[in-house]
Structures are given as C-alpha cells and as structure tokens.
C-alpha cells in the first residue's frame, strides 16, 4: 500500500515538475515574443523614464515656524494642528469628523489651546527629525479658572503630555517634557493676560512626523517645483504622485500598452502552421491556452513590478518614506489586467485576430469603467431618494434604469472597486489603523470578498468558454 502511495506521490511530483517546465517555457516564449515587438521597448522605455523621473524627485522640508502661521491659503500647518486633540476628542477618528473639525477650527479661530511658537532644540527649524520646543497657550474663560491651573498645573501638564499631537492612536510627535513656560520664553506677551497660561513642550519625532511634515516637492533635482503640492504633508504629496501614476494617466497608458502587447500572443499562436506544431505536443488544449494566458499575465506582473517596485525604491530613497501600500498595488493592477486579458483571450480564440482582440478589450475596459461609474452615481442617487421618500412615508421603488445598472454591476467584474482599492492601498499609510479598520476612508460601502469573487468568476467563465472553444475547433 505504502509503495503505491509513494509511487503515486512520485508521479504527482513528476507531473507538477513537467507542468511547471511547460509553464516556464510558455512564459519565456511570451517574453521573447513581447521583446520582439517594438511596443515592448516603448513600454520598457516609458517605465524606465518614470522610474528615473521618480529618482529626481526632491522633497524640501518647510521650516517649522511657517507651520504655525494661521494663514488662510496654507491650511496644512502641522504644528498648528497638534493642539487639536487637546481641544476636541479625537479618539475614533473619521474623515467626516476631521473635515468638520478643520472647518470649525478655521471658522471660530477661538479655542482653548493654541500653538504660539516653535524653536529648534538641535539642528535647524526645517528638520522633521529634530527635537523642538513648542510654546502652547491655554486660554480660559475666566481668570479664576486660569489661576487655579497655575496653582496646580499637574493635570494640565499630563493632558498636554498625553494628548498633544495624539490623533487617535497615531502620535505625530512624542512629548518628552512639558512645563509651564519660563519667564524668558520669548513668546510670552509683554502684558500678561490673566486668562492665559503658556506652556513649553519638548517634542521628539515619531515615525509619523516626517510623513506629516509639509514639504516643497520638485522634479529634476529641484529644477521644476511642483507648486500645486507645496506645503502639503509629505505623505499626501507621495499619495498624490502615486495616485496619479497608478490610478491615473500612468496606469491608463501602461494598461493600454499591455493590452496591445499581449493581444498578439494568442492570435500568433493560433496562426496556421504555428498552432499545428503546438497541438501535437502532449499538452491538453485547455492547459495550453491557460498556460499561454498565465504567461501573458506573468509578463505584465513582472513589468508592473518593475515600474511600481522601481518607483517605490526611488520615492522611498528620495522621500525617506517607505509606503507598503504602494507596493501592494502591483497585485491589484495585475488582477485588473487579468480581467481584461481574459476578454482579450476570448476574442483572440474566437476570431484569431489581434485587432479584434485589442478593440474588444478596450471596449470592455471602457464599458466596465462606465458601469462602475454609473453604478456609483445610481447608488448614491437611490439612497438620497429613498431617504427623502421614507421621510414622506412613501414606499421607494427603483426605476428600470437603476435596476438594470445594478444588475449589470453585480454580474460583471467590479473594476471600479479595484480603482477604489488601489486608492485605499495608497492612502493607507497616511491614516491610522482605526480609520482603516473602521473603513471610514471612503463612504462607498464595498464588499471586497464579493467584488473579488465576482471578478474571479468572470475570468474563470471567460477562460472556460475560451478553452472549450479552443478544444473543440479543427485547426
């Protein structure tokens, strides 16, 4: 018995080894085919230019004193915001709450704690990794109240130590030491206000300080300033740049080129005189087609990994921030492409025409994008209408158009969801774990399991049909 099992295991291993060998051969063949086409060099060239351009990015930290000036045109002053947790309860942070807080702070201009000044304890004022002496003023409604704190400041000192710069579980800075401001503090007013008390906080940077520190970005080693992103926290700058490349024009161009390159693979394989030589090899036709599909997909995965990995290294080197979310987008982009490549494979097998495969894949891409966008609009519109009608005590019923869009959205791959997932991956390093866990980054409710499963089923169905067609045709 055990000998049979051993032999069966050996056969299984041998089979796996042979399938792996065939898969690697087909992948290598796809790579040779892609390299042979000029489009590949355009793609590699563009990818290299993007990586090299990322290598020339510069991020110049803004001086700390600029970050406490209450200027309407510069809403991102870091030090000014560090007192927010002292004025409001910022545990369980949500986007809506943060937005409300920002606007209320701006409008009122009056709150209990405020940052009056920042001094560097070592180094310069524009070093995100430096220690700083921050002068904070506490304003009280009544002079008696302030007097009481002056007599026994311990509770306020503890509060300052624990909550200064503490957003949710994210600590922007550590407070190393806190005390009532000494008389030689140059931020003390000439005429003391009995309702105010000045405190001095010695801050020490945390892992988050750098990415929240406003910077001035530029490309080509400072030659061209990216003024639109000036004075924005470094993490946000990185997000905007990454999002533009991965979710914006960069991704569109890369996917379009990928569609063009890979659309040649299967029609070329099916050409008379070429297919005969493959069909006489001892590989079942469905496996041959699936291996060819995977070969194309791996090629795109490697290219994506090259671009995203290269940019990740370049941007990490230039900014000092290593965002894991950016790297994870490699898998999301490949999955997105897997959906499109399944469409390309189907039409390539049905028509054996590269042009038809390219056109139909682009059409499917546009259609899925349009459906995702329309669904988002229909869904939010339906919710508003439903609320309005329920307020009036009426039963809400959806129109045929909305129902149609919803049905199509449910059965087709959710490429729009993948765009949202990419955004979330890019932004995840900028938000706290509680925010991410609470899914408060985006108000659109998305069932990731369902979304990914529906897309996977779509791929399997298209590939299954392609395999059936390929297996039953005469060549």
């Amino acid at each position: 018995m055990w000998i049979n099992r051993l032999l069966a295991e050996r056969d299984r291993c041998e089979f796996q080894k042979k399938v792996t060998m065939k898969f690697l051969a087909i992948m290598k063949d796809s790579l040779r085919e892609a390299i042979d086409s000029k489009v590949f060099f355009v793609m590699v060239g563009l990818s290299s230019v993007m990586v090299l351009l990322a290598c020339t990015l510069s991020f110049k930290p803004q001086p700390a004193e600029l970050q406490i000036e209450n200027r309407a045109d510069e809403p991102n002053e870091l030090f000014k915001r560090l007192v927010w947790p002292l004025n409001t309860d910022l545990s369980d942070l949500s986007i809506e709450k943060l937005q409300r807080l920002g606007s209320s702070q701006k409008q009122s201009g009056l709150h209990l704690y405020d940052v009056k000044g920042v001094d560097a304890l070592n180094g310069s004022l524009n070093d995100p990794q430096g220690d700083y002496l921050v002068t904070v003023v506490a304003r009280f409604a009544e002079a008696e109240e302030a007097q009481k704190v002056r007599k026994d400041p311990q509770e306020t000192l503890d509060l300052l130590k624990n909550r200064f710069g503490a957003f949710d579980e994210l600590r922007v800075v550590e407070v190393a030491k806190v005390q009532v401001a000494s008389s030689n503090n140059h931020y003390l007013p000439e005429t003391p206000n009995p309702k105010e008390i000045y405190f001095e906080l010695q801050t020490h940077p945390t892992s988050a300080t750098r990415r929240l520190w406003p910077h001035e970005p530029s490309v080509l080693f400072g030659a061209f300033s990216l003024s639109a992103l000036k004075n924005v926290p470094l993490g946000v700058q990185l997000y905007v740049i990454e999002d533009n490349i991965i979710n914006g024009w960069g991704a569109w161009l890369a996917i379009l080129l990928s569609i063009v390159i890979t659309s040649f693979f299967i029609p070329n394989m099916l050409r008379k005189g070429t297919i005969d030589l493959l069909l006489v090899k001892p590989i079942p036709r469905p496996i041959l087609l699936v291996l060819k599909y995977l070969g194309g997909l791996c090629f795109i995965f490697l290219n994506t990994a090259f671009v995203v990995g290269g940019m990740w290294l370049a941007m990490g080197w230039r900014s000092g921030i290593w965002t894991i979310g950016f790297l994870l987008t490699i898998f999301v982009i490949t999955y997105f492409f897997a959906i499109l490549y399944a469409v390309s494979t189907l039409f390539a097998v049905l028509t054996r025409s590269t042009i038809v495969a390219i056109l139909m894949t682009c059409f499917a891409w546009g259609f899925l994008f349009a459906i995702g966008l329309t669904y988002q609009f229909v869904d939010s519109d339906s919710r508003v209408k439903k609320l309005e009608q329920e307020k009036e005590g009426l039963q809400y019923s959806e129109g045929w158009f909305s129902t149609g869009v919803r049905v199509i959205h449910y059965v087709l791959p959710r490429t729009r969801d993948l765009d949202i997932l990419t955004t979330r991956l890019l932004i995840r390093d900028l938000w706290t774990a509680n925010q991410i866990q609470g899914q408060k980054l985006d108000p659109t409710p998305i069932s990731w399991g369902e979304s990914i499963t529906v897309s996977a089923i779509f791929i399997v169905l298209l590939l299954g049909f392609s395999c059936w067609w390929f297996s039953t045709r005469d060549y």
């Binding site: 065939k22 087909i26 085919e33 042979d36 005969d276 030589l277 493959l278 090899k281 005469d474 060549y475």
Partner: protein, 315 residues
C-alpha cells in the same frame, strides 16, 4: 500490429467531404508515402491522426491507441506542410521551447539541441534568428524539431519542399537511417521521384478516397512489356518474333516486346539464341511512380482543387 490504422475515416467541412471512408494500415518500421493532388485530403488525414482535427466518422488509431491523446503524441514527431515557426526564436531556442513542451528534461535538451542541429546541418547558425533562415534551412529546422524527442512515428508533410538537391539527398539518407533505427515514417509529398526513392509503400488519395495502395515495385511494374538489347552490330529478327505472336516496337537501341496474357518471354529468348544472337539487355519494363500516379489520377475524377466549370452567365 499496425502502427497507423484508420477505419472508414471520414471528415466533412460543411458541404465538403475531405475524407470519404479511408481505411489504411501502416506497419512498424515502414516508410509510407501518401500521394494525391492538392485538396485530395492528405493533410486532413495526418491532422486527424495527430488530433489537430477531429474525424466526422470512423476510427483513427496510432500506436495502438486512439489518435491525438497526449500519451500517443509523446511518441510522435510532426513536420507540417506550411509550418510557421515563431520568428523571434533562434534555432536553438526554438528546439528548447518545443523540447520543454514535450517534457524533455533541461539536461537532455541541452545535450540534444546541438546534436540535432548538427544532424540537419544548422549547427553553425543555431543562434541566428529563424527569420534570417532560408526556406530550406527552415525546412531542416522543422525536421530537427520533428525528430528532437526521438519519436517512434514521424509524420512529414512535404519534407523536401524548398530544399536544394544536395539537401534532399541528405534528407533521404536521414530517413533511411531513421528507418534502420526502427522508426515508422509517414510522408506526404508531391515530389514523386523522392517518394519512389524513399518509400516502401504508397497510397494514392483522390478526392478523399484511397484509390490505390501497395508497395512501389508492384505498383510500378508494367506487366507484359520487356526491353531487349543485342550485342552491337547484330540485327534483331523483328519479323520472326512477330510471327511467333509477339508484337515488337523499336525503342532507340532496344526493342520492346509485348506479351499477351499467359505468354512468357522465354520463347523469344530461345529464338534469339538459336539465331546465334547475343542478348546484352533484358529487363521487364516498369513505369515510374509519376507515370503510375498520373495514370491512376486521370482515370479517377479530378481533385477538389480543380477549377469548377463555370456556370453559364445570363446574357
């Protein structure tokens, strides 16, 4: 047991009947040539045997198993007629690719690739791109890939197509060598002279039907015709031979003696000897394979690629 065996094999493409009940047997270690006009169904027959195309009716067996199964394909080599190798490959990388798909280990591939390319005379160009190869070189590369995994049965569709006379001779020698190694070879070819030199047996396919089959010698033999030659200066007794009931026709320096059914050439030989004539040449006259093929095909209906008679156009 026959290595290749088809029984009432039929294939229909819409209204076109490419094969009409073909029954064929090819034995082990045999070189079999399938002849026929364009569109006669030769390639269809091979494609069915290799599982590239599926039969509409009948049975096709290869090496004792159903044709086209992976187990059978592992033991089969194939050179298609209009093969088109991916031109981004070199000769070396192409054999490496096909070898991987055949399940040949990396070690064996590295060993066999230079050997095979040397065998077909391409070793010097093995790292050049296929697109730089001439037609003859591509053909030789095709033969190399068909033989790469040391198959038991080899299907060659027009193997000498585009190959120069020296190359053809090399291919012939190679095929004879393969035969001596116990390989079974199935050849489709229009070059009847080549087939005659290489094949043991041939079959003629006409409009999807196997109309003639047999060994070369029996198919080309012309019963009842002998060529006789005498020593220089001697005169052939034409009238006397004719009187004995053997019509004689001069053929250059020889004389063609026709025998009726049941007649033997011996009385003619005896007559010549009795007259003291020296017989220098006496052979039974044979047809070439080409003569036999044309005779057979013309006797049958034309192939499917023959121009269809034009319909009368309305005036």
């Amino acid at each position: 047991m026959a290595v290749i065996h088809t029984k009432n094999l039929a294939k229909r493409y819409g209204k076109i009947e490419a094969l009409k009940g073909v029954s064929l047997k090819v034995e082990e270690k045999e070189i079999f040539g399938l002849l026929g006009q364009n569109g006669a169904g030769k390639t269809t027959l091979i494609k069915i045997l290799l599982g590239i195309t599926r039969e509409t009716m009948g049975e096709a067996h290869l090496l004792g198993e159903s044709a086209g199964t992976p187990a059978v394909l592992r033991r089969v080599g194939y050179l298609p007629e209009d093969h088109r190798f991916p031109e981004y490959h070199t000769g070396h990388s192409l054999l490496d690719f096909y070898g991987s798909l055949l399940g040949v280990s990396r070690h064996d591939r590295q060993k066999r690739i230079p050997e095979m390319l040397e065998l077909v005379g391409l070793k010097g160009r093995m790292h050049s791109k296929v697109r730089t190869y001439s037609k003859g070189m591509k053909q030789r590369l095709g033969i190399a890939q068909a033989l790469f995994h040391n198959p038991d049965v080899i299907f060659l569709d027009e193997p000498t197509d585009g190959v120069d006379p020296v190359g053809r001779r090399e291919i012939r020698t190679l095929l004879q060598h393969l035969k001596s190694e116990g390989k079974t070879i199935f050849i489709n070819s229009h070059l009847l002279g080549e087939v005659e030199l290489i094949c043991d047996r041939v079959g003629i396919l006409q409009s999807g039907e196997l109309i003639r089959e047999g060994d070369i010698a029996s198919l080309t033999r012309q019963r009842g015709l002998f060529l006789v030659g005498l020593a220089p200066g001697q005169i052939f007794p034409q009238a006397e031979v004719a009187q004995k009931g053997y019509p004689v026709t001069p053929r250059g320096e020889f004389w063609e003696v026709a025998l009726a059914d049941g007649q033997s050439i011996d009385p003619v030989v005896d007559l010549l000897r009795s007259r003291g004539l020296s017989i220098r040449h006496l052979v039974e006259k044979r047809q070439t394979l080409e003569d036999m093929f044309l005779e057979t095909v013309i006797a049958a209906e034309p192939g499917v690629d023959q121009p269809v008679a034009r319909r009368k156009r309305p005036l």
